[in-house]
Protein backbone atom coordinates (compact mmCIF):
# COMPACT_ATOMS: atom_id res chain seq x y z
CA UNK A 1 0.00 0.00 0.00
CA UNK A 2 1.23 3.45 -0.67
CA UNK A 3 1.24 5.89 2.11
CA UNK A 4 2.74 9.29 2.48
CA UNK A 5 5.63 10.06 4.74
CA UNK A 6 7.08 13.42 5.36
CA UNK A 7 10.47 13.65 3.81
CA UNK A 8 12.42 16.64 2.75
CA UNK A 9 10.07 19.35 1.62
CA UNK A 10 6.97 17.47 0.70
CA UNK A 11 5.21 14.20 0.70
CA UNK A 12 7.07 11.14 -0.43
CA UNK A 13 5.51 7.88 -1.31
CA UNK A 14 6.73 4.83 0.48
CA UNK A 15 5.47 1.36 0.73
CA UNK A 16 4.43 -0.02 4.08
CA UNK A 17 4.86 -3.61 5.00
CA UNK A 18 1.82 -5.71 5.49
CA UNK A 19 1.75 -9.19 6.88
CA UNK A 20 1.74 -11.11 3.65
CA UNK A 21 4.08 -9.07 1.57
CA UNK A 22 6.74 -8.49 4.14
CA UNK A 23 10.04 -8.70 2.41
CA UNK A 24 8.48 -8.19 -0.99
CA UNK A 25 8.35 -4.42 -1.02
CA UNK A 26 10.87 -4.23 -3.78
CA UNK A 27 11.22 -7.69 -5.29
CA UNK A 28 13.80 -8.26 -7.97
CA UNK A 29 11.64 -8.52 -11.03
CA UNK A 30 12.87 -9.86 -14.33
CA UNK A 31 12.10 -7.58 -17.22
CA UNK A 32 11.92 -8.91 -20.77
CA UNK A 33 9.89 -8.26 -23.90
CA UNK A 34 6.60 -10.05 -24.58
CA UNK A 35 5.63 -12.87 -24.84
CA UNK A 36 6.29 -14.00 -21.31
CA UNK A 37 5.48 -17.63 -21.77
CA UNK A 38 7.25 -19.99 -24.09
CA UNK A 39 6.39 -23.30 -25.64
CA UNK A 40 7.92 -26.51 -24.40
CA UNK A 41 10.08 -27.08 -27.46
CA UNK A 42 13.76 -26.31 -27.18
CA UNK A 43 16.44 -26.63 -29.83
CA UNK A 44 18.79 -28.27 -27.38
CA UNK A 45 16.24 -30.89 -26.54
CA UNK A 46 15.51 -31.46 -30.23
CA UNK A 47 19.12 -32.23 -31.00
CA UNK A 48 19.71 -34.44 -27.99
CA UNK A 49 16.47 -36.35 -28.70
CA UNK A 50 17.67 -37.10 -32.19
CA UNK A 51 21.01 -38.27 -30.83
CA UNK A 52 19.28 -40.58 -28.35
CA UNK A 53 16.98 -42.00 -31.00
CA UNK A 54 19.94 -42.90 -33.16
CA UNK A 55 21.49 -44.98 -30.40
CA UNK A 56 19.41 -48.17 -30.73
CA UNK A 57 20.42 -48.61 -34.37
CA UNK A 58 24.02 -47.75 -33.52
CA UNK A 59 24.01 -50.30 -30.72
CA UNK A 60 22.76 -52.95 -33.12
CA UNK A 61 25.67 -52.13 -35.41
CA UNK A 62 28.12 -52.67 -32.56
CA UNK A 63 26.40 -55.91 -31.64
CA UNK A 64 26.61 -57.11 -35.22
CA UNK A 65 30.09 -56.04 -36.21
CA UNK A 66 31.89 -55.89 -32.90
CA UNK A 67 34.74 -53.69 -31.81
CA UNK A 68 35.53 -52.17 -35.22
CA UNK A 69 32.05 -50.65 -35.31
CA UNK A 70 32.47 -49.25 -31.83
CA UNK A 71 35.79 -47.72 -32.81
CA UNK A 72 34.29 -46.09 -35.88
CA UNK A 73 31.43 -44.61 -33.85
CA UNK A 74 33.74 -43.40 -31.13
CA UNK A 75 36.10 -41.76 -33.56
CA UNK A 76 33.24 -40.16 -35.48
CA UNK A 77 31.61 -38.72 -32.39
CA UNK A 78 34.87 -37.79 -30.72
CA UNK A 79 36.25 -35.94 -33.71
CA UNK A 80 33.00 -34.07 -34.19
CA UNK A 81 32.90 -32.93 -30.59
CA UNK A 82 36.58 -32.01 -30.65
CA UNK A 83 36.19 -30.05 -33.87
CA UNK A 84 33.20 -28.20 -32.44
CA UNK A 85 35.15 -27.45 -29.28
CA UNK A 86 38.19 -26.16 -31.15
CA UNK A 87 36.25 -24.02 -33.56
CA UNK A 88 34.23 -22.73 -30.63
CA UNK A 89 37.41 -21.72 -28.85
CA UNK A 90 38.76 -20.03 -31.95
CA UNK A 91 35.51 -18.17 -32.41
CA UNK A 92 34.77 -17.39 -28.82
CA UNK A 93 31.39 -19.13 -28.99
CA UNK A 94 31.06 -22.47 -27.23
CA UNK A 95 28.33 -24.41 -28.97
CA UNK A 96 29.10 -27.99 -27.98
CA UNK A 97 26.15 -27.96 -25.61
CA UNK A 98 23.54 -27.63 -28.29
CA UNK A 99 23.91 -31.23 -29.33
CA UNK A 100 24.26 -30.72 -33.06
CA UNK A 101 27.89 -31.85 -33.10
CA UNK A 102 26.91 -35.02 -31.29
CA UNK A 103 24.23 -35.74 -33.88
CA UNK A 104 26.64 -35.05 -36.74
CA UNK A 105 29.34 -37.28 -35.31
CA UNK A 106 26.90 -40.08 -34.62
CA UNK A 107 25.45 -39.93 -38.11
CA UNK A 108 28.88 -39.92 -39.72
CA UNK A 109 29.85 -42.94 -37.66
CA UNK A 110 26.66 -44.75 -38.53
CA UNK A 111 27.08 -44.24 -42.26
CA UNK A 112 30.63 -45.61 -42.28
CA UNK A 113 31.37 -49.26 -43.03
CA UNK A 114 32.67 -50.99 -39.92
CA UNK A 115 36.32 -51.80 -40.15
CA UNK A 116 37.09 -48.71 -42.22
CA UNK A 117 40.48 -47.17 -41.34
CA UNK A 118 39.86 -44.73 -38.54
CA UNK A 119 41.18 -41.67 -40.35
CA UNK A 120 38.15 -41.88 -42.62
CA UNK A 121 35.42 -41.15 -40.04
CA UNK A 122 37.77 -38.69 -38.38
CA UNK A 123 38.29 -36.77 -41.61
CA UNK A 124 34.59 -36.98 -42.45
CA UNK A 125 33.50 -35.63 -39.06
CA UNK A 126 36.12 -32.91 -39.10
CA UNK A 127 35.19 -31.89 -42.61
CA UNK A 128 31.51 -31.89 -41.75
CA UNK A 129 31.90 -29.75 -38.66
CA UNK A 130 34.66 -27.38 -39.71
CA UNK A 131 34.04 -26.92 -43.43
CA UNK A 132 30.34 -27.56 -43.86
CA UNK A 133 28.97 -26.11 -40.66
CA UNK A 134 31.31 -23.74 -38.90
CA UNK A 135 32.88 -22.12 -41.95
CA UNK A 136 29.46 -20.97 -43.06
CA UNK A 137 28.46 -19.48 -39.74
CA UNK A 138 27.67 -22.32 -37.38
CA UNK A 139 24.36 -23.85 -36.44
CA UNK A 140 21.48 -22.78 -38.60
CA UNK A 141 23.61 -21.32 -41.36
CA UNK A 142 24.86 -24.39 -43.16
CA UNK A 143 23.24 -25.05 -46.50
CA UNK A 144 24.36 -28.67 -46.61
CA UNK A 145 23.80 -31.36 -44.04
CA UNK A 146 27.16 -31.51 -42.21
CA UNK A 147 27.17 -35.26 -41.63
CA UNK A 148 26.34 -35.94 -45.24
CA UNK A 149 28.91 -33.43 -46.45
CA UNK A 150 31.55 -35.27 -44.48
CA UNK A 151 30.37 -38.68 -45.66
CA UNK A 152 30.37 -37.64 -49.31
CA UNK A 153 33.83 -36.16 -48.86
CA UNK A 154 34.95 -39.52 -47.54
CA UNK A 155 33.15 -41.33 -50.36
CA UNK A 156 35.04 -39.36 -52.96
CA UNK A 157 38.36 -39.41 -51.13
CA UNK A 158 38.59 -43.02 -50.09
CA UNK A 159 36.08 -44.77 -52.29
CA UNK A 160 37.53 -48.27 -52.00
CA UNK A 161 37.78 -48.09 -48.22
CA UNK A 162 34.17 -46.95 -48.11
CA UNK A 163 32.95 -49.95 -50.08
CA UNK A 164 34.68 -52.65 -48.08
CA UNK A 165 32.25 -54.32 -45.71
CA UNK A 166 32.44 -56.72 -42.79
CA UNK A 167 30.39 -59.90 -42.78
CA UNK A 168 27.23 -60.10 -40.69
CA UNK A 169 26.71 -62.45 -37.77
CA UNK A 170 26.50 -66.06 -38.61
CA UNK A 171 27.03 -65.46 -42.29
CA UNK A 172 28.14 -68.48 -44.21
CA UNK A 173 31.86 -68.65 -44.71
CA UNK A 174 33.26 -68.06 -48.12
CA UNK A 175 33.12 -65.06 -50.36
CA UNK A 176 34.08 -61.56 -49.29
CA UNK A 177 31.34 -59.63 -47.56
CA UNK A 178 29.18 -57.68 -49.95
CA UNK A 179 26.31 -55.41 -49.12
CA UNK A 180 23.06 -56.52 -50.74
CA UNK A 181 23.16 -53.64 -53.21
CA UNK A 182 26.68 -54.41 -54.39
CA UNK A 183 25.83 -58.09 -54.61
CA UNK A 184 22.79 -57.21 -56.68
CA UNK A 185 24.91 -55.16 -59.03
CA UNK A 186 27.35 -58.00 -59.47
CA UNK A 187 24.56 -60.48 -60.02
CA UNK A 188 22.93 -58.32 -62.67
CA UNK A 189 26.24 -57.66 -64.34
CA UNK A 190 27.36 -61.16 -64.82
CA UNK A 191 25.74 -63.62 -62.52
CA UNK A 192 23.15 -66.32 -62.83
CA UNK A 193 19.57 -65.41 -63.50
CA UNK A 194 16.81 -66.60 -61.25
CA UNK A 195 13.04 -66.63 -61.07
CA UNK A 196 11.26 -64.67 -58.42
CA UNK A 197 12.34 -61.52 -56.67
CA UNK A 198 15.67 -59.88 -56.10
CA UNK A 199 16.38 -61.97 -53.01
CA UNK A 200 16.05 -65.10 -55.08
CA UNK A 201 18.51 -63.60 -57.51
CA UNK A 202 21.00 -62.99 -54.73
CA UNK A 203 20.48 -66.46 -53.41
CA UNK A 204 21.09 -68.01 -56.77
CA UNK A 205 24.41 -66.19 -56.90
CA UNK A 206 25.53 -67.57 -53.61
CA UNK A 207 24.85 -64.69 -51.22
CA UNK A 208 25.88 -65.90 -47.75
CA UNK A 209 22.68 -65.59 -45.75
CA UNK A 210 23.02 -66.60 -42.14
CA UNK A 211 21.99 -69.90 -40.67
CA UNK A 212 19.51 -68.15 -38.37
CA UNK A 213 17.83 -66.74 -41.41
CA UNK A 214 17.61 -70.19 -42.89
CA UNK A 215 15.90 -71.56 -39.79
CA UNK A 216 13.41 -68.72 -39.47
CA UNK A 217 12.47 -68.65 -43.11
CA UNK A 218 11.98 -72.39 -43.23
CA UNK A 219 9.81 -72.30 -40.14
CA UNK A 220 7.66 -69.46 -41.40
CA UNK A 221 7.28 -71.05 -44.81
CA UNK A 222 6.38 -74.34 -43.28
CA UNK A 223 3.97 -73.27 -40.61
CA UNK A 224 2.42 -70.01 -41.70
CA UNK A 225 2.79 -69.24 -45.35
CA UNK A 226 2.21 -72.73 -46.67
CA UNK A 227 -1.44 -72.23 -45.75
CA UNK A 228 -1.59 -69.18 -47.97
CA UNK A 229 0.39 -70.85 -50.68
CA UNK A 230 3.16 -68.24 -50.58
CA UNK A 231 6.77 -68.56 -49.54
CA UNK A 232 9.46 -66.23 -48.32
CA UNK A 233 12.77 -66.40 -50.11
CA UNK A 234 16.01 -67.01 -48.21
CA UNK A 235 17.36 -63.78 -46.84
CA UNK A 236 14.04 -62.19 -45.93
CA UNK A 237 14.69 -62.49 -42.22
CA UNK A 238 18.24 -61.23 -42.50
CA UNK A 239 17.19 -58.20 -44.44
CA UNK A 240 14.24 -57.45 -42.20
CA UNK A 241 16.19 -57.61 -38.99
CA UNK A 242 19.32 -56.07 -40.42
CA UNK A 243 21.78 -58.92 -40.25
CA UNK A 244 23.53 -57.84 -43.43
CA UNK A 245 26.81 -56.14 -44.27
CA UNK A 246 26.42 -52.42 -44.46
CA UNK A 247 27.09 -49.20 -42.62
CA UNK A 248 27.35 -49.37 -38.84
CA UNK A 249 24.02 -47.83 -38.00
CA UNK A 250 22.26 -48.23 -41.27
CA UNK A 251 21.36 -51.89 -41.43
CA UNK A 252 18.69 -52.25 -38.81
CA UNK A 253 15.50 -50.79 -40.19
CA UNK A 254 13.25 -51.82 -37.26
CA UNK A 255 15.41 -50.07 -34.68
CA UNK A 256 15.65 -46.98 -36.83
CA UNK A 257 11.88 -46.97 -37.11
CA UNK A 258 11.56 -47.23 -33.35
CA UNK A 259 13.70 -44.14 -32.91
CA UNK A 260 11.86 -42.35 -35.67
CA UNK A 261 8.49 -43.20 -34.15
CA UNK A 262 9.51 -41.58 -30.89
CA UNK A 263 10.70 -38.47 -32.67
CA UNK A 264 7.49 -38.25 -34.68
CA UNK A 265 5.37 -38.71 -31.58
CA UNK A 266 7.16 -35.86 -29.84
CA UNK A 267 7.00 -33.65 -32.92
CA UNK A 268 10.77 -33.40 -33.07
CA UNK A 269 10.55 -34.32 -36.74
CA UNK A 270 7.54 -33.90 -38.98
CA UNK A 271 6.03 -36.63 -41.08
CA UNK A 272 5.90 -34.68 -44.33
CA UNK A 273 9.46 -35.29 -45.56
CA UNK A 274 10.01 -38.95 -44.61
CA UNK A 275 6.62 -40.11 -45.76
CA UNK A 276 6.71 -38.44 -49.16
CA UNK A 277 10.35 -39.43 -49.64
CA UNK A 278 9.77 -43.10 -48.94
CA UNK A 279 6.47 -43.31 -50.75
CA UNK A 280 7.82 -41.57 -53.85
CA UNK A 281 10.91 -43.71 -53.92
CA UNK A 282 9.04 -46.95 -53.39
CA UNK A 283 6.45 -46.16 -56.01
CA UNK A 284 9.03 -45.20 -58.60
CA UNK A 285 11.29 -48.09 -57.70
CA UNK A 286 8.51 -50.61 -57.87
CA UNK A 287 7.16 -49.25 -61.16
CA UNK A 288 10.34 -48.49 -63.03
CA UNK A 289 13.05 -50.16 -61.03
CA UNK A 290 12.83 -53.41 -62.86
CA UNK A 291 13.42 -51.83 -66.25
CA UNK A 292 17.15 -51.11 -65.99
CA UNK A 293 17.57 -54.57 -64.55
CA UNK A 294 15.76 -56.07 -67.46
CA UNK A 295 13.02 -57.45 -65.29
CA UNK A 296 10.09 -55.49 -66.69
CA UNK A 297 7.51 -53.16 -65.21
CA UNK A 298 6.33 -53.39 -61.61
CA UNK A 299 9.16 -55.73 -60.76
CA UNK A 300 11.36 -53.30 -58.94
CA UNK A 301 11.50 -55.10 -55.62
CA UNK A 302 10.71 -52.06 -53.54
CA UNK A 303 10.97 -53.84 -50.22
CA UNK A 304 14.46 -54.96 -51.07
CA UNK A 305 15.40 -51.40 -51.99
CA UNK A 306 13.80 -50.08 -48.82
CA UNK A 307 15.76 -52.34 -46.53
CA UNK A 308 19.15 -51.97 -48.21
CA UNK A 309 21.41 -49.02 -48.02
CA UNK A 310 20.84 -45.95 -45.87
CA UNK A 311 17.40 -45.09 -47.17
CA UNK A 312 15.49 -45.31 -43.89
CA UNK A 313 18.21 -43.52 -41.94
CA UNK A 314 18.33 -40.84 -44.60
CA UNK A 315 14.58 -40.40 -44.81
CA UNK A 316 13.92 -40.09 -41.09
CA UNK A 317 17.07 -38.57 -39.70
CA UNK A 318 18.99 -36.76 -42.40
CA UNK A 319 16.35 -35.40 -44.75
CA UNK A 320 14.38 -34.08 -41.76
CA UNK A 321 17.25 -31.90 -40.57
CA UNK A 322 15.39 -28.61 -40.09
CA UNK A 323 18.27 -26.37 -41.11
CA UNK A 324 18.61 -27.78 -44.60
CA UNK A 325 15.02 -28.65 -45.40
CA UNK A 326 12.22 -26.27 -46.41
CA UNK A 327 10.25 -24.25 -43.85
CA UNK A 328 6.65 -24.72 -44.84
CA UNK A 329 4.50 -27.83 -44.96
CA UNK A 330 4.01 -27.67 -48.69
CA UNK A 331 7.71 -27.10 -49.14
CA UNK A 332 8.47 -30.24 -47.16
CA UNK A 333 6.11 -32.31 -49.27
CA UNK A 334 7.69 -31.14 -52.51
CA UNK A 335 11.13 -31.70 -51.01
CA UNK A 336 10.27 -35.28 -50.12
CA UNK A 337 9.09 -35.97 -53.66
CA UNK A 338 12.27 -34.45 -55.13
CA UNK A 339 14.41 -36.56 -52.84
CA UNK A 340 12.57 -39.70 -53.85
CA UNK A 341 13.13 -38.99 -57.52
CA UNK A 342 16.78 -38.07 -57.03
CA UNK A 343 17.49 -41.18 -54.97
CA UNK A 344 15.98 -43.37 -57.62
CA UNK A 345 18.13 -41.93 -60.36
CA UNK A 346 21.31 -41.89 -58.33
CA UNK A 347 20.86 -45.42 -57.07
CA UNK A 348 20.01 -46.97 -60.39
CA UNK A 349 22.01 -44.89 -62.83
CA UNK A 350 24.63 -43.21 -60.71
CA UNK A 351 27.93 -44.28 -59.33
CA UNK A 352 27.96 -47.45 -57.23
CA UNK A 353 26.63 -46.76 -53.80
CA UNK A 354 23.19 -46.33 -52.39
CA UNK A 355 22.59 -42.86 -53.73
CA UNK A 356 20.97 -41.50 -50.60
CA UNK A 357 23.71 -39.15 -49.31
CA UNK A 358 24.19 -37.50 -52.67
CA UNK A 359 20.45 -37.27 -53.29
CA UNK A 360 19.89 -35.53 -49.97
CA UNK A 361 22.75 -33.14 -50.67
CA UNK A 362 21.21 -32.25 -54.00
CA UNK A 363 17.91 -31.79 -52.22
CA UNK A 364 19.61 -29.44 -49.77
CA UNK A 365 20.69 -27.34 -52.72
CA UNK A 366 17.09 -27.26 -53.95
CA UNK A 367 15.63 -26.37 -50.56
CA UNK A 368 16.05 -22.56 -50.81
CA UNK A 369 14.38 -22.61 -54.19
CA UNK A 370 11.51 -24.65 -52.81
CA UNK A 371 11.24 -22.25 -49.90
CA UNK A 372 10.98 -19.27 -52.15
CA UNK A 373 8.21 -20.80 -54.22
CA UNK A 374 6.17 -22.03 -51.27
CA UNK A 375 6.25 -18.90 -49.19
CA UNK A 376 2.85 -18.44 -47.49
CA UNK A 377 0.67 -15.60 -48.64
CA UNK A 378 0.47 -12.79 -46.12
CA UNK A 379 -3.12 -12.32 -44.96
CA UNK A 380 -4.03 -8.64 -44.53
CA UNK A 381 -4.41 -7.72 -40.90
CA UNK A 382 -5.61 -4.19 -41.34
CA UNK A 383 -2.45 -2.99 -39.67
CA UNK A 384 -0.96 -1.54 -42.80
CA UNK A 385 -3.98 0.70 -43.16
CA UNK A 386 -3.42 2.06 -39.70
CA UNK A 387 0.18 3.01 -40.35
Amino acid sequence: MWTACEAGNGWELCAIMTESNRGMASPQLAVSPAPHVGGLASSLRLNWSVACCLLPAAAWGVFLFGVPALEVLAVGVGTALLAELLTGLAWGRMTVRDGSAMVTGLMVGMLMPPGVPLYVPAAASAFGIVVVKQSFGGLGRNWMNPALGGVVFALFSWSDAMSRWLPARGAAEGAAALSPLSALRNALAGGKAAHGGLLALLGANGYPWSAADGRVVTWVNGHVLSILGASLPRGAFDMLVGNIPGGVGVVSVPLLLVGAAYLLARSVIRWQVPLTYLVTFCVIAQLFGGLPMGRGWLAGGMLFQLFSGSLVLGAFFMATDPVTSPLTRWGKLIYGVCLGILTFFLRYFGAPGDGVPLAILLGNCLAPLIDRSTRPRARPSGKAAMA
Binding site: Y119, A123, S135, F153, F156, S157, W158, A161
Partner: protein, 241 residues
Protein backbone atom coordinates in the same frame (compact mmCIF):
# COMPACT_ATOMS: atom_id res chain seq x y z
CA UNK B 1 39.20 -0.13 -57.09
CA UNK B 2 42.58 1.36 -57.61
CA UNK B 3 45.66 -0.81 -57.52
CA UNK B 4 48.40 0.27 -55.26
CA UNK B 5 51.71 1.22 -56.68
CA UNK B 6 54.74 -0.80 -55.92
CA UNK B 7 55.89 -4.34 -56.00
CA UNK B 8 54.99 -5.45 -52.49
CA UNK B 9 51.45 -4.30 -52.67
CA UNK B 10 50.78 -6.58 -55.57
CA UNK B 11 51.91 -9.42 -53.35
CA UNK B 12 49.57 -8.83 -50.46
CA UNK B 13 47.12 -6.04 -50.81
CA UNK B 14 46.06 -6.68 -54.38
CA UNK B 15 46.96 -10.33 -54.57
CA UNK B 16 45.02 -11.56 -57.59
CA UNK B 17 43.80 -14.96 -56.45
CA UNK B 18 43.50 -14.47 -52.72
CA UNK B 19 42.17 -10.93 -52.47
CA UNK B 20 40.78 -9.53 -55.68
CA UNK B 21 39.72 -12.99 -56.87
CA UNK B 22 40.96 -12.51 -60.41
CA UNK B 23 42.37 -15.53 -62.22
CA UNK B 24 40.39 -18.21 -60.40
CA UNK B 25 40.25 -20.48 -63.41
CA UNK B 26 43.87 -21.56 -63.36
CA UNK B 27 43.84 -21.45 -59.59
CA UNK B 28 41.25 -24.19 -59.44
CA UNK B 29 42.45 -26.15 -62.43
CA UNK B 30 46.21 -26.36 -62.47
CA UNK B 31 46.93 -26.51 -58.76
CA UNK B 32 46.62 -30.28 -58.74
CA UNK B 33 50.38 -30.54 -58.97
CA UNK B 34 52.98 -28.13 -57.67
CA UNK B 35 54.99 -28.26 -60.87
CA UNK B 36 51.93 -27.23 -62.87
CA UNK B 37 51.35 -24.29 -60.58
CA UNK B 38 54.99 -23.26 -60.91
CA UNK B 39 54.93 -23.31 -64.68
CA UNK B 40 51.60 -21.49 -64.80
CA UNK B 41 53.03 -18.78 -62.57
CA UNK B 42 56.11 -18.48 -64.73
CA UNK B 43 53.90 -18.14 -67.74
CA UNK B 44 51.72 -15.52 -66.17
CA UNK B 45 54.63 -13.43 -64.95
CA UNK B 46 56.26 -13.64 -68.35
CA UNK B 47 53.16 -12.57 -70.24
CA UNK B 48 51.96 -10.00 -67.72
CA UNK B 49 55.24 -8.15 -67.35
CA UNK B 50 55.88 -8.03 -71.05
CA UNK B 51 52.30 -6.99 -71.83
CA UNK B 52 52.39 -4.23 -69.27
CA UNK B 53 55.75 -3.07 -70.47
CA UNK B 54 54.66 -2.99 -74.08
CA UNK B 55 51.48 -1.20 -73.16
CA UNK B 56 53.36 1.46 -71.27
CA UNK B 57 55.69 2.04 -74.18
CA UNK B 58 52.70 2.23 -76.52
CA UNK B 59 51.02 4.81 -74.26
CA UNK B 60 54.18 6.85 -74.23
CA UNK B 61 54.47 6.77 -77.99
CA UNK B 62 50.83 7.74 -78.39
CA UNK B 63 51.24 10.60 -75.95
CA UNK B 64 54.24 11.85 -77.88
CA UNK B 65 52.35 11.76 -81.18
CA UNK B 66 49.38 13.50 -79.59
CA UNK B 67 51.41 16.29 -78.13
CA UNK B 68 53.09 16.62 -81.47
CA UNK B 69 49.76 16.89 -83.27
CA UNK B 70 48.17 18.82 -80.37
CA UNK B 71 44.97 16.80 -80.22
CA UNK B 72 43.22 15.90 -76.96
CA UNK B 73 44.95 12.97 -75.34
CA UNK B 74 42.48 10.77 -73.56
CA UNK B 75 39.52 10.38 -75.88
CA UNK B 76 41.55 9.38 -78.88
CA UNK B 77 43.82 6.99 -77.02
CA UNK B 78 41.20 4.97 -75.15
CA UNK B 79 40.36 2.36 -77.76
CA UNK B 80 44.04 1.80 -78.23
CA UNK B 81 44.50 0.80 -74.62
CA UNK B 82 42.23 -2.22 -74.79
CA UNK B 83 43.30 -3.14 -78.26
CA UNK B 84 46.90 -2.94 -77.31
CA UNK B 85 46.30 -5.03 -74.22
CA UNK B 86 44.54 -7.73 -76.24
CA UNK B 87 47.13 -7.92 -78.97
CA UNK B 88 50.12 -7.90 -76.68
CA UNK B 89 48.71 -10.46 -74.29
CA UNK B 90 47.76 -12.81 -77.09
CA UNK B 91 51.14 -12.52 -78.74
CA UNK B 92 53.12 -13.16 -75.62
CA UNK B 93 50.86 -16.02 -74.58
CA UNK B 94 51.30 -17.66 -77.93
CA UNK B 95 55.05 -17.25 -77.59
CA UNK B 96 55.00 -18.85 -74.16
CA UNK B 97 52.91 -21.68 -75.45
CA UNK B 98 55.43 -22.39 -78.18
CA UNK B 99 58.34 -22.15 -75.75
CA UNK B 100 56.67 -24.68 -73.45
CA UNK B 101 55.90 -27.00 -76.35
CA UNK B 102 59.49 -26.83 -77.54
CA UNK B 103 61.35 -27.26 -74.27
CA UNK B 104 58.95 -28.92 -71.81
CA UNK B 105 56.41 -30.84 -73.90
CA UNK B 106 55.20 -32.95 -70.94
CA UNK B 107 54.33 -29.87 -69.04
CA UNK B 108 52.64 -28.38 -72.06
CA UNK B 109 50.46 -31.46 -72.32
CA UNK B 110 49.72 -31.39 -68.60
CA UNK B 111 48.66 -27.76 -68.54
CA UNK B 112 46.63 -28.22 -71.69
CA UNK B 113 44.05 -25.54 -72.39
CA UNK B 114 45.07 -23.36 -69.48
CA UNK B 115 48.12 -21.98 -71.27
CA UNK B 116 46.06 -20.09 -73.84
CA UNK B 117 43.84 -18.95 -70.97
CA UNK B 118 46.81 -17.06 -69.57
CA UNK B 119 45.96 -14.45 -72.16
CA UNK B 120 42.52 -13.90 -70.64
CA UNK B 121 43.84 -13.50 -67.13
CA UNK B 122 46.61 -11.22 -68.26
CA UNK B 123 44.29 -8.89 -70.10
CA UNK B 124 42.22 -8.47 -66.97
CA UNK B 125 45.22 -8.10 -64.70
CA UNK B 126 46.94 -5.71 -67.03
CA UNK B 127 43.89 -3.50 -67.24
CA UNK B 128 43.60 -3.70 -63.47
CA UNK B 129 47.18 -2.56 -63.10
CA UNK B 130 46.72 0.19 -65.65
CA UNK B 131 43.55 1.56 -64.11
CA UNK B 132 45.55 3.43 -61.55
CA UNK B 133 47.76 5.14 -64.05
CA UNK B 134 45.52 7.57 -65.77
CA UNK B 135 47.79 10.57 -65.64
CA UNK B 136 49.40 11.59 -68.86
CA UNK B 137 52.84 10.25 -69.50
CA UNK B 138 55.58 12.53 -68.23
CA UNK B 139 58.69 10.53 -67.67
CA UNK B 140 58.92 7.42 -69.77
CA UNK B 141 61.67 5.87 -67.73
CA UNK B 142 59.78 6.28 -64.51
CA UNK B 143 56.60 4.93 -66.01
CA UNK B 144 58.38 1.87 -67.33
CA UNK B 145 59.92 1.22 -63.94
CA UNK B 146 56.55 1.63 -62.24
CA UNK B 147 54.77 -0.67 -64.65
CA UNK B 148 57.45 -3.31 -64.23
CA UNK B 149 57.08 -3.09 -60.49
CA UNK B 150 53.32 -3.37 -60.50
CA UNK B 151 53.04 -6.19 -62.96
CA UNK B 152 55.90 -7.99 -61.33
CA UNK B 153 54.17 -7.68 -58.00
CA UNK B 154 50.88 -8.95 -59.32
CA UNK B 155 52.56 -11.83 -61.09
CA UNK B 156 54.56 -12.90 -58.08
CA UNK B 157 51.47 -12.53 -55.89
CA UNK B 158 49.63 -14.83 -58.25
CA UNK B 159 52.51 -17.25 -58.07
CA UNK B 160 52.51 -17.27 -54.29
CA UNK B 161 48.77 -17.97 -54.17
CA UNK B 162 48.95 -20.74 -56.71
CA UNK B 163 51.90 -22.41 -55.07
CA UNK B 164 50.23 -22.20 -51.66
CA UNK B 165 47.07 -23.84 -52.96
CA UNK B 166 48.92 -26.51 -54.90
CA UNK B 167 51.11 -27.46 -51.96
CA UNK B 168 48.10 -28.16 -49.79
CA UNK B 169 46.05 -29.69 -52.52
CA UNK B 170 48.67 -32.04 -53.91
CA UNK B 171 49.94 -33.13 -50.51
CA UNK B 172 46.55 -33.97 -49.12
CA UNK B 173 44.86 -34.92 -52.35
CA UNK B 174 47.48 -37.10 -54.01
CA UNK B 175 50.05 -37.63 -51.32
CA UNK B 176 52.91 -36.30 -53.45
CA UNK B 177 54.72 -33.08 -54.22
CA UNK B 178 55.82 -32.89 -57.82
CA UNK B 179 58.77 -30.67 -58.63
CA UNK B 180 61.48 -30.36 -61.26
CA UNK B 181 63.59 -33.45 -61.77
CA UNK B 182 67.19 -32.50 -60.96
CA UNK B 183 69.95 -35.01 -61.33
CA UNK B 184 69.10 -38.19 -59.47
CA UNK B 185 65.95 -36.67 -57.96
CA UNK B 186 63.02 -38.00 -59.94
CA UNK B 187 60.92 -34.99 -59.22
CA UNK B 188 58.21 -36.47 -56.99
CA UNK B 189 58.32 -36.40 -53.21
CA UNK B 190 56.09 -38.85 -51.37
CA UNK B 191 54.39 -37.12 -48.51
CA UNK B 192 54.75 -39.69 -45.80
CA UNK B 193 51.69 -41.49 -44.50
CA UNK B 194 49.28 -39.36 -46.43
CA UNK B 195 50.49 -40.89 -49.66
CA UNK B 196 49.11 -44.25 -48.56
CA UNK B 197 45.54 -42.96 -48.51
CA UNK B 198 45.26 -39.44 -49.77
CA UNK B 199 41.96 -37.60 -49.70
CA UNK B 200 41.26 -37.79 -53.39
CA UNK B 201 38.31 -35.41 -53.11
CA UNK B 202 40.82 -32.59 -52.96
CA UNK B 203 42.35 -33.67 -56.21
CA UNK B 204 39.13 -32.88 -58.02
CA UNK B 205 38.34 -29.35 -59.15
CA UNK B 206 35.89 -28.98 -56.31
CA UNK B 207 38.66 -29.63 -53.87
CA UNK B 208 40.69 -26.96 -55.61
CA UNK B 209 37.94 -24.43 -55.12
CA UNK B 210 37.73 -25.46 -51.49
CA UNK B 211 41.42 -24.73 -50.93
CA UNK B 212 41.04 -21.51 -52.86
CA UNK B 213 38.19 -20.45 -50.62
CA UNK B 214 40.18 -21.08 -47.49
CA UNK B 215 43.16 -19.20 -48.92
CA UNK B 216 40.95 -16.20 -49.57
CA UNK B 217 39.54 -16.53 -46.07
CA UNK B 218 43.01 -16.72 -44.58
CA UNK B 219 44.02 -13.62 -46.51
CA UNK B 220 41.02 -11.75 -45.13
CA UNK B 221 41.79 -12.89 -41.65
CA UNK B 222 45.38 -11.74 -41.96
CA UNK B 223 44.25 -8.40 -43.28
CA UNK B 224 41.80 -7.99 -40.44
CA UNK B 225 44.37 -8.98 -37.88
CA UNK B 226 46.70 -6.37 -39.23
CA UNK B 227 43.86 -3.91 -39.08
CA UNK B 228 43.86 -3.04 -42.68
CA UNK B 229 40.82 -2.96 -44.92
CA UNK B 230 41.42 -5.14 -47.93
CA UNK B 231 40.14 -3.53 -51.07
CA UNK B 232 38.53 -5.31 -53.86
CA UNK B 233 36.60 -7.99 -52.09
CA UNK B 234 34.95 -10.45 -54.32
CA UNK B 235 31.58 -10.54 -52.55
CA UNK B 236 30.15 -7.16 -51.61
CA UNK B 237 27.11 -6.90 -49.37
CA UNK B 238 24.72 -6.00 -52.13
CA UNK B 239 21.67 -6.65 -50.04
CA UNK B 240 21.91 -3.48 -48.07
CA UNK B 241 18.73 -1.60 -48.85
Amino acid sequence: MTPSAGFTKGLFRDNPVAVTLIGLCPAAAVTGRVIDALWMSVGLIFVLVLTRLSQTILQAMLALTESASQSSPSTEARPFRWLGSLVFASCFTASFELILLAFVPDESASLGIYVPLIAVNCIVLERFAASGNREPVRNIGRDIAKSLQESGGLGVGFAISLIAISLVRETLGSGTITLFPIGSFAGTIEAGNVSLAPARALAYAGGGLLCLGYLAGAARLLGRLKGRRLEGQGGTEAERS
